[in-house]
């Protein structure tokens, strides 16, 4: 039995590498062949083509993320039409059903952003920057959007590259040019979160830093009190459960009756310590 996962995040993206680890573990546990695929960059056209390629191989199950229903819709519908059971993960909970997916595992980027924004506003934040290391990547843009909505106060998007040094400098620059900033929302723990913590520390001000996703070093900062929290979607579940469900479906025809929300889960100082170890192994 073969199950193919086509996601919009690359295997070297810290967030998606955890999804991939979940996929692989589920493959091992259920004894099916799994295959994780993604376009080289955030590219919806290429992703649609990858789904088509997967459909051609007629797998026993297909897992997809749906950051752009318009672009991916026809390919997913084609898979459904070809009789391949489809489960959507991560993004696309709103359209999943419509396109014929059996269910959705995960949690919307936007909702996670809203949750984070609300929490930071509750902690007293009024003026925030949202560090976006990949502007134009719709799933990241949605995180910022959701954050702005939940936060309510002033939110400036700070576009950066993937380079930690540059991110640290830019955050430092933003902090020193606007004394009012009291909150930093980073969209990736390893790339943006850690340098943001460093910049915040160097500024000598009291700044709340939060991030999407987890990285061991960031969690350590949460434990040490240098950062507020990290948002965990438990994306391992997205990969693991989707494959597990499809494997069971192929074997016994079983399928849960509704969507499975995998998050959001805010990791604050009390929970962080126990998560560090799992995070450095790529499970959380």
């Amino acid at each position: 039995q073969d199950i193919v996962v086509v996601a919009h995040g690359q295997a070297n993206d810290p967030f998606w590498s955890v999804v991939k680890n979940g996929v692989e573990e589920a493959g091992k546990d259920t004894g099916v062949n799994v295959d994780y695929r993604s376009p080289e960059t955030f590219d919806m056209v290429a992703m649609a083509q990858l789904i088509d390629a997967a459909v051609n191989q007629e797998p026993d199950g297909l897992v997809v993320s749906i950051p752009d229903a318009d672009a991916l819709g026809p390919s997913i519908e084609r898979a459904v039409a070809a009789g391949i059971p489809v489960i959507s993960i991560n993004s696309g909970s709103d359209v999943s059903n419509e396109l014929g997916a059996l269910l959705h595992v995960g949690q919307d980027e936007r909702d996670a952003g809203v949750a984070a924004g609300e929490k930071l506003a509750e902690m007293g934040g009024t003026n925030a920057i949202c560090v976006n290391q990949e502007v134009g990547n719709v799933s990241l843009d949605l995180r910022c959007e959701g954050f702005a909505e939940g936060f309510g106060g002033t939110v400036t998007v700070l576009p950066t590259s993937n380079d930690p040094t540059e991110i640290q400098s830019k955050v430092a620059a933003a902090l020193s040019s606007d004394e009012g900033i009291d909150t930093i929302m980073a969209l990736g723990a390893g790339t943006a979160g850690e340098p943001s913590v460093a910049a915040a520390k160097a500024s000598g001000r009291d700044i709340k830093v939060a991030t999407f996703d987890l990285s061991a070093s960031f969690l350590q900062s949460v434990v040490d009190g240098d950062a507020a929290f990290a948002i965990d979607q438990q994306q391992f579940l997205q990969g693991y459960l989707a494959v597990d469900f499809l494997a069971l479906n192929a074997k016994y025809g079983l399928m849960p009756g509704g969507n499975v929300p995998s998050g959001p889960n805010l990791i604050t100082a009390d929970k962080a310590a126990q998560v560090i170890d799992l995070s450095s192994k790529g499970i959380r």
């Binding site: 295997a11 991939k20 062949n33 295959d35 994780y36 695929r37 993604s38 080289e40 960059t41 955030f42 590219d43 919806m44 056209v45 290429a46 649609a48 083509q49 990858l50 088509d52 390629a53 997967a54 051609n56 191989q57 007629e58 752009d68 229903a69 318009d70 672009a71 819709g73 026809p74 039409a81 070809a82 009789g83 502007v135 134009g136 990547n137 719709v138 843009d141 959007e145």
Partner: protein
């Protein structure tokens, strides 16, 4: 000493096999690479890769890349680069989507408008390069950033804050021009073939291949046209001359500035074509469209034998270069390799393909 007998029976020329005369052409070098890649995947990949639907599946991204690569190749032959084509895809796509969705214009207006718009940007690029004498690398790099940035700004403006503009499919549905720029050509033919059992079908009887994706047709037509222009028209001669040695070409009376600016316009138009095809097909556009395509287009052109220094190369080479690149990228998903190794294989395949076709060419033509 029968020099006057003419070149036909010159004792200073060895007889040459048909094969080596063929291999001497830059465009045919890349064929060796294609063959190698096909053999590799025939062995390692799932059998469905080389079914009709598998073929269409890898040809479709290869074609989109290839259209850009042919533009890039012609510009490279003319001695310049355009790093802004990837951003141009996003920008032209946005322009097209705004025309079609926000303003509700019909395609007969939108499509020419998009081409004109793109060509103007290309002309600006070209004019700055010619006037300033700066390397096109740095000028078009600036436009890489500018156009990408403007796409983001424009998207937010057009959608009221989102970076994704949707609804293009609805807006273009039913337009008489739509079938020329999206979907599959000859659906009737393929349905008939499926009925006759000549094309595989899904369980429900629908043909696995509903037709030939239009981008493949565009790709083939553009490759043929570009080859014709390069090899059989005065303009082609000027392009080679301008790229080979700008000074010498200009001293010999080639209107170098005009040639180069036209090439920039052409490249931008190729990007616009890809933008139109992908935006209609996807039904939406976002700020990341075409990201790094400039890079891939140059890669394909170089695999196909274009020199970065200009003056040498071919459109057919870029054609095969794009196919090699597209086949490797998609083909690896048909194999059982772990995705973690994807980039390693991609790099290794590219290197092996170019080394192989280089070795073959040297072998056959008896170069040192």
């Amino acid at each position: 000493m029968n020099a006057s007998d003419g070149a036909l029976e010159d004792e200073r020329v060895k007889a040459e096999s048909f094969l080596s005369r063929l291999m001497r052409r830059p465009e045919l070098g890349a064929i060796a690479g294609v063959i190698l890649v096909v053999i590799f995947f025939a062995i390692t990949a799932d059998g469905s890769m080389f079914t009709l639907s598998g073929f269409m599946n890898f040809m479709s991204p290869a074609s989109q890349l290839g259209i850009l690569a042919i533009g890039a190749a012609m510009l490279m032959i003319g001695g310049e680069f355009d790093l802004s084509i990837g951003s141009m895809v996003a920008f032209a796509g946005l322009f097209f989507a705004i025309c079609a969705v926000n303003w509700g214009l019909p395609l007969v207006v939108t499509i020419p408008l998009t081409f004109v718009f793109a060509a103007c940007v290309g002309a600006v690029n070209g004019t700055i390069v010619i006037r300033s004498g700066l390397p096109s690398f740095i000028v078009t790099l600036a436009f890489l950033f500018i156009l990408r940035g403007l796409s983001l700004v424009g998207l937010k403006w057009a959608t009221g804050g989102s970076t994704q503009l949707r609804g293009v499919r609805e807006a273009t549905e039913g337009d008489i021009l739509t079938p020329f720029f999206s979907g599959d050509a000859f659906p009737g033919l393929f349905a008939r073939l499926a009925e006759m059992g000549l094309v595989e079908t899904f369980g429900n009887g629908a043909p696995k291949v509903p037709g030939i994706p239009v981008e493949i047709l565009w790709f083939v037509v553009i490759a043929a046209l570009a080859t014709y222009v390069l090899l059989r028209t005065p303009a082609g001669n000027w392009i080679f001359a301008a790229g080979g040695d700008t000074n010498a070409a200009s001293n010999s009376g080639v209107p170098v500035a005009r040639v180069k600016v036209s090439l920039f316009m052409l490249t931008a138009a190729c990007a616009a074509l890809v933008a139109i095809i992908t935006v209609i097909d996807a039904g939406s556009t976002d700020a990341r469209r075409g990201f790094q395509k400039e890079f891939e287009a140059i890669i394909a052109a170089v695999i196909g034998g274009c020199l970065l220094t200009g003056g040498y190369g071919s459109a057919i080479g870029a054609f095969f270069g794009a196919i090699i690149f597209g086949m490797v990228v998609i083909g690896l998903t048909y194999t059982n390799f772990d995705q973690d190794w994807f980039q390693v294989f991609l790099g290794a395949m590219l290197l092996i393909a170019v080394l192989f076709n280089n070795a073959i060419r040297k072998r056959v033509t008896g170069e040192r």
